[in-house]
């Protein structure tokens, strides 16, 4: 008991989850309210009168892991719902219709291979002079389910960005307007898409204070205004 009392505050409930990396991956990430957990962590830390950078660093790392888990859950959410069979319904499925096969004469020949090779070998020579950047190995299953989801996600981000560009609200665009009346998953998705776009420099996001509305500015507009 006394051992428990002597522990630093961050190893106690509710913050101790941030310091148990093994448990972190087993929890349901959306059950955690990171914002309030971190705010209270900082308040407690200030109360102590000094900052333990070790603990703060670990808390930061854990938070980023949780955020990542949360966004992954968004990708998976729909599929998982299906996998649980919640909404599986029966309908008559007609037999598969085999598509007829149509041969297509293609124009690529050995000559094209050689032309392509000429270009590539030039590039190869150059790449041997230049220091080759370390190459990240591909994920083990290269075109697996997750990849497909990411691809779908990329597409959604793209069409969302197009929609933003086309919207009438340019210049005076707020997060709350975008998500009004939407279910929570859509809200989170929209938020994540904005983060994505900000990371890529497509938008700039402004939030005057914590929990205030987020102002969205399209970067294209910024550059148009400030050449």
């Amino acid at each position: 008991m006394s051992g428990e009392e002597n522990k630093p505050f961050w190893l106690k409930h509710p913050w101790k989850i941030l310091f148990d990396l093994a448990r972190l991956t087993k929890i349901r990430p959306w059950d955690l309210n990171i914002a309030s957990l971190l705010s209270s962590f900082l308040r407690e830390m200030r109360k102590m009168g000094y900052i333990d950078f070790n603990a703060s660093g670990t808390a930061l790392l854990s938070s980023s892991i949780i955020l990542r888990l949360q966004s992954e859950r968004i990708f998976e959410a729909e599929i998982e719902e299906e996998k649980k069979g919640i909404e599986r319904i029966f309908d008559y499925v007609p037999p598969p219709l085999q598509l007829p096969f149509r041969f297509e004469l293609t124009v690529t020949g050995l000559e094209d291979i050689l032309e392509a090779l000429k270009e590539v070998l030039k590039a190869e020579k150059e790449s041997l002079h230049v220091k080759v950047k370390p190459v990240t190995p591909p994920p083990p299953d290269f075109f697996n389910e997750y990849d497909r989801m990411v691809l779908q996600w990329e597409q959604e981000v793209e069409s969302f960005y197009e929609a933003l560009k086309a919207s009438q609200l340019r210049g005076e665009l707020y997060f709350s307007q975008l998500v009004q009346g939407k279910p929570w998953r859509e809200i989170v998705k929209t938020f994540l898409m904005l983060i994505f776009m900000a990371a890529r420099g497509l938008v700039e996001l402004y939030q005057d204070e914590e929990f205030a509305d987020i102002k969205i500015v399209l970067t294209a507009e910024v550059s148009r205004v400030e050449p």
Partner: protein, 216 residues
């Protein structure tokens, strides 16, 4: 096996009237070969206009006649290939569907396996159908099927508010020579399904017998 019936000559006598206004006249047998070459090489349905330009024959009717006689020749010889005339008058050469599964590993073209084909059949049958319903009926693996079908251009997705609706594309209609009118297409599809011995009421029992939601 005597194959005399398939010699190329007879057509000249079949159509006695000479075609007028040819750009660079070729005889009918040669026009037929040109049409065959074009259909073989293109791998997609060709319009009469294109066949006119390939053969140098200006009359669409004439070209259509020649293409039909080629189609009939293919029918007569009963090989693995067929020429099909689509509803809108285009012609296409293709492998008869029953041979597709046998040549799968020989081609670069991505061919669909049974799962995606069933999902495609279902979308065609129920279109326009919400994506969520397709997933609910065909299971989560249908996400993958839908991605593939979209990729191949066989289906299209459109947003209607929050719902994603799926329907078949023009390319799909082209494959089966179906009408682009959805109502008509459905009738034609039903006929195709019935050819395969399928009737909606006679399917095996629902996958989840505990759920009585089955709508026929």
């Amino acid at each position: 096996m005597s194959l005399n019936s398939q010699t190329v000559k007879p057509e000249a006598s079949e159509s006695p009237k000479p075609s007028k206004g040819q750009a660079k006249p070729v005889d009918e047998a040669e026009a037929r070969r040109l049409i065959e070459a074009a259909l073989y090489a293109s791998g997609y349905p060709l319009e009469l206009k294109t066949l006119c330009s390939i053969t140098g024959i200006t009359s669409k009717r004439k070209v259509s006649e020649i293409a039909r006689s080629l189609m009939e020749e293919y029918q007569r010889r009963g090989g693995a290939l067929e020429i099909v005339e689509l509803e809108d008058g285009r012609f296409v050469m293709q492998l008869k569907p029953k041979y597709v599964s046998k040549i799968r590993r020989l081609t670069f073209k991505p061919l669909l396996t049974e799962g995606p084909l069933k999902t495609l059949s279902y979308i065609a049958y129920r279109q326009p159908v919400p994506q969520a319903k397709v997933i609910a009926v065909r299971g989560p693996q249908a996400y993958r099927h839908i991605a593939k079908l979209l990729d191949m251009g066989l289906i299209e997705r459109e947003k209607l508010g929050k719902t994603s609706l799926l329907k078949t594309s023009r390319i799909f209609a082209d494959y089966f020579g179906l009408s682009r009118d959805l109502r008509l297409m459905r009738k034609q599809l039903e006929a195709l399904f019935q050819e395969k011995g399928w009737k909606p009421g006679e399917q095996p029992p629902p996958l989840t017998p505990s759920q009585p939601q089955g709508k026929p």
